[in-house]
C-alpha cells in the first residue's frame, strides 16, 4: 500500500516536472534585445577605441614633430651660452643678434687656437644671431638651424630656457 502511494507520488512529481520542462517562448525578445544592445555597445567601444587610437597617433606625430623641431633648434640654459665658430684664418669675429641689437661692437669673440668663442648670459627667449668674420662676411652658426631672415643673410636661431 505504501509502495503504491510512493509510486503515485513519484508519478505526479514526474508529470509536474515534465510539464515545467517544456520549452517556453517567453523571453525570445529579451534575448534579442540584450544581444542587440551589447552589439551596439561593442560597436561604440570599438569606435571609441579607434578615435582614441587615431588621436593618440596624431598626438604622437605632433609630439614627434615638435620634438624634432626642438632637437633641431638647440635649447640652451640661461646661465651662460657659449657661441663658438671655427674660423682659423679669420683675424676678427664678432657676434651680432637680437640680444645685442645687432651691434657689431658689443660681443667680439676671443680666439682660442683654431676656434673663436664668447659666453653670454641671456634671458630665456628665442634669439636670431649671426657671426661677422673680418668685418664683412656674415656666417650662420653651423651647429644651429637657420632662421628666416628678411634680408637674405645667413642667420641662426637659438632658444634659451630657464
Amino acid at each position: 500500500m505504501d509502495e503504491q502511494m510512493d509510486a503515485s507520488k513519484e508519478a505526479l512529481l514526474r508529470d509536474i516536472v515534465g510539464s515545467l520542462r517544456a520549452p517556453v517562448s517567453v523571453g525570445d525578445g529579451a534575448v534579442e534585445r540584450a544581444m542587440a544592445q551589447l552589439r551596439r555597445e561593442a560597436l561604440a567601444v570599438r569606435r571609441w577605441r579607434q578615435t582614441v587610437l587615431t588621436a593618440g597617433i596624431a598626438a604622437a606625430l605632433v609630439l614627434a614633430f615638435l620634438g624634432a623641431r626642438r632637437l633641431r633648434q638647440p635649447l640652451a640654459p640661461n646661465n651662460g651660452v657659449t657661441f663658438a665658430l671655427a674660423a682659423p684664418a679669420a683675424s676678427r669675429v664678432v657676434l651680432i643678434g637680437d640680444f645685442n641689437d645687432w651691434n657689431p661692437e658689443a660681443n667680439p669673440l676671443r680666439r682660442d687656437e683654431r676656434h673663436w668663442s664668447v659666453t653670454l648670459r641671456l634671458k630665456p627667449g628665442r634669439y636670431r644671431y649671426s657671426y661677422v668674420v673680418d668685418g664683412s662676411s656674415w656666417q650662420a652658426d653651423p651647429g644651429t638651424p637657420l632662421a628666416e631672415d628678411d634680408f637674405g643673410t645667413p642667420t641662426s636661431v637659438i632658444t634659451v630656457v630657464n
Partner: protein, 179 residues
C-alpha cells in the same frame, strides 16, 4: 565538434561577442523557463532575463571558473529574479500569467493546457524560496552543491525547501491529477 563552454567564455572575456551569443543560445531555454516559472508573468520574466544577459556580459571577466559558466549565469538570473520578486512583493499577476502561459507552453492541447495551468497555480502557492529551489533542482537539474553556490543557502536548507515544495505541489495537485 562542439566547443566547450569554457573555451567560449575565454573568448567572450576577450571581447568576442559572437562567443557570448553562442553561450546564450546554448543556455537560453533554461533561463527563459526559470524566469517565467519563478516570476509567473511575461513582463517581469523578460526584464529579468534581459537585465541578466546584459549584466553577465559586462561582468564576464569576473567569471573565474569558465567551465561552470551555466551556474555563474544562473546565479545572476536568480538574483535578478529575487530583486523583481521583492520589488513586486512576490505577487504574481494572474492575468499576465495566464496570457504568458497560453503562449508559452507547447503544444497547447486542451487537457495539457489545463494541467499546465493547474501546475502554475500550485507553483504560485509556494513560498518564493521553495519555488526557487524546486525549479533549480527538479526542472533545471542543478545539483545541491551548485544550488548552494548560486543561491547562497546551505545544502540542508535547500533540500528542505525542495522537499517541502514537492509535498506542497503534490497536495495542491492531487485532486486534479489524472495520471
Amino acid at each position: 565538434m562542439r566547443v566547450p563552454d569554457a573555451n567560449l567564455v575565454l573568448r567572450a572575456q576577450d571581447g568576442n561577442l559572437d562567443a557570448y551569443a553562442e553561450l546564450i543560445a546554448r543556455h537560453r531555454s533554461g533561463l527563459q523557463r526559470y524566469a517565467l516559472h519563478l516570476l509567473g508573468n511575461r513582463e517581469d520574466a523578460e526584464e529579468a532575463l534581459q537585465d541578466s544577459l546584459l549584466r553577465a556580459y559586462r561582468s564576464i571577466r569576473r567569471c573565474e571558473h569558465p567551465e561552470r559558466f551555466r551556474s555563474w549565469l544562473a546565479r545572476i538570473l536568480v538574483n535578478r529574479c529575487r530583486t523583481r520578486l521583492s520589488r513586486n512583493g512576490s505577487v504574481v499577476r494572474d492575468s499576465e500569467r495566464d496570457s504568458a502561459l497560453d503562449n508559452a507552453a507547447a503544444p497547447p492541447a486542451t487537457e495539457q493546457a489545463a494541467w499546465g495551468e493547474e501546475i502554475q497555480r500550485a507553483l504560485r502557492v509556494l513560498a518564493p524560496d521553495q519555488r526557487e529551489a524546486f525549479l533549480l533542482h527538479h526542472v533545471e537539474e542543478f545539483s545541491y552543491d551548485e544550488m548552494a553556490e548560486l543561491t547562497g543557502a546551505s545544502v540542508p536548507a535547500l533540500k528542505m525547501r525542495v522537499s517541502r515544495a514537492c509535498e506542497r505541489l503534490r497536495a495542491e495537485l492531487r485532486e486534479v491529477y489524472h495520471g
